[in-house]
């Protein structure tokens, strides 16, 4: 009894050392910088805009046009590529439709019970500062707008750093850069031309392609929420700060019954795909593929392949892939 009491009273002291680094971390974070992040999220939800942006990765630059209109039924977005292979993506509150004319394929993603516009929760924003040192930078001009610079420095090597440029007046994100641990730029999104608010014609949201045409091959992800742990799949441990956001069962590249677990640290998202080995190309090898800020790591587990995809460093995607276990 005495021992029990003692342990109960002592417990807070044992917990304390673990709490300290977190509170120290919180103390370093600039509260107004965090409020800026909230503003950026809010702007995405409520602003209507149309503009042209460039995606840059290494030597490669791609230009796209984006239109985002907020209606009573929710936001509606259209993205159209202006360079190279034509492509179109239309997103509404509950689905994403991708037109890939090069292969005459339409991909539809409509996960039941999952919002396509993930609302950022305030408590997740607080968690962010445990994983990143968030601070305000200078005011810089982007695309004719004066922008506040927000810097997110990772607290460990399991995530990348970010630099965001948000319009002083509206909070609209005009430029975003991702950096690796050597502070080298991995990729960048930046508007070169942008109209915020005002009259934006609804016809700009209309798909140029019609999937009603019989020539198109339609691939529906048929994603449903599921509990993969019941099927025996678990992630033993994830890198600090990463939490499971959702678990789905979906069709991927024509293969049905692919498990899809999404993890996030509040800003970086990582997807884990669990697919039957027979659906992978023969003679697949475990390994890593890198593209800009995206890393893809794949490895076999039993008669399945685990593929981890996300805007996180190789260490991070490998860590997660290696932690995936099958136990029945």
């Amino acid at each position: 009894m005495t021992r029990l009491l003692a342990s109960r009273f002592l417990r807070p002291f044992r917990v304390l050392p673990f709490l300290l680094p977190v509170s120290a971390a919180l103390a370093q974070t600039d509260v107004s910088a965090q409020q800026w992040l909230e503003r950026i999220y809010a702007a995405t939800q409520k602003l209507s805009y149309t503009g042209v942006f460039v995606y840059q990765q290494g030597q490669q630059v791609e230009t796209s046009r984006i239109t985002h209109i907020v209606e009573a039924s929710g936001p509606r977005e259209r993205l159209e590529t202006l360079d190279g292979t034509p492509r179109e993506i239309i997103r509404t509150r509950d689905q994403v439709v991708c037109y890939l004319p090069a292969s005459m394929t339409v991909k539809i993603d409509k996960p039941s019970g999952t919002r396509m516009f993930p609302a950022i929760l305030p408590e997740r924003l607080k968690e962010l500062s445990e994983n990143y040192n968030i601070r305000k930078g200078e005011v810089e001009r982007v695309g004719g707008y004066d922008c506040q610079v927000i810097i997110l420095e990772p607290r460990d090597r399991m995530r990348y750093g970010h630099r965001l440029w948000a319009d002083l007046n509206t909070g609209m994100l005009l430029k975003a850069r991702t950096f690796d641990e050597k502070n080298e730029m991995l990729e960048q999104f930046a508007f070169t031309q942008l109209q915020i608010g005002g009259a934006i014609g609804r016809e700009q949201l209309k798909a140029r392609f019609s999937r009603a045409s019989r020539d198109w091959r339609v691939e529906d992800s048929g994603a449903v929420r599921t509990n993969l742990a019941e099927a025996g799949w678990t992630i033993r441990s994830s890198p600090p700060g990463f939490r499971t956001v959702t678990e789905l069962l979906r069709t991927l590249g024509g293969t049905s019954g692919v498990g899809h677990i999404v993890l996030s640290d509040g800003i970086a998202a990582v997807s884990v795909f669990i697919q039957p080995a027979k659906s992978k190309q023969p003679a697949s090898q475990p390994g890593l593929v890198r593209q800009g800020a995206i890393n893809v790591y794949t490895r076999p587990v039993g008669d399945h392949w685990i593929t981890v995809v996300g805007e996180a460093p190789p260490e991070s995607v490998k860590y997660i892939a290696d932690a995936v276990e099958y136990r029945k």
């Binding site: 999220y41 991708c98 996030s264 970086a268 593929v289 490895r299 995809v309 490998k318």
Partner: protein
């Protein structure tokens, strides 16, 4: 006292203090020792070394025993790079695609490394073993990456901020594929 000495070394001491301090330096042996140490530190910081110091360092290095045994990586790091275990047995290819166009083909990072030593596990540019690298197949084909990315993006938190802009990544993929 030491702060004053440091200021003196940096030439920041006012002339009134200077006189008194130089006097003390003349008499105080310990202070003279500190004086030369401070100058040494200053020289090191500025990268100025006398030739005799360099010679002495080189001589000392020559006398140091060479450590042949691989350094055991800390346990925690090992779990990060748990692929090392696989590297000893199967052919593990770390394939890095470089940009422009992205999918021009696999580029094998680094050269084959003798696997098995725990030390090599910490290196990200591990490319092993078994299959000749020229024939190494990418672990994930561009078409597969595209499928994964299209499925991944709706949940990306960065998409929450950037709208569907990150989809431009998948566009970049396809262009590369087409150019292949």
């Amino acid at each position: 006292m030491r702060e004053k000495l440091s200021a003196l070394v940096d030439g920041e001491l006012r002339s009134v203090d200077l006189e008194a301090h130089l006097g003390r330096l003349r008499t105080d042996r310990e202070l003279r020792g500190a004086w030369s140490t401070y100058h040494l530190i200053g020289d090191a910081l500025r990268g100025h070394f006398g030739p005799e110091i360099i010679d002495r360092v080189v001589a000392r290095l020559r006398d140091e025993p060479t450590v042949v045994a691989p350094r055991i990586a800390p346990f925690k790091r090992l779990s990060w790079y748990a692929m090392s275990a696989a590297a000893g047995l199967t052919a593990v290819a770390l394939v890095v695609w470089t940009a422009s166009p992205i999918w021009k083909g696999p580029e094998i990072a680094g050269s084959p490394v003798a696997s098995g030593a725990p030390g090599t596990a910490a290196s990200v540019t591990v490319v092993a073993a078994g299959a000749p690298s020229a024939q190494a197949k990418p672990p994930v084909t561009p078409a597969e990456v595209e499928n994964y990315l299209l499925a991944h993006h709706p949940f990306s938190r960065t998409s929450a901020m950037q709208g569907i802009a990150p989809y431009a990544r998948t566009v970049a993929d396809e262009r590369g594929t087409a150019g292949k």
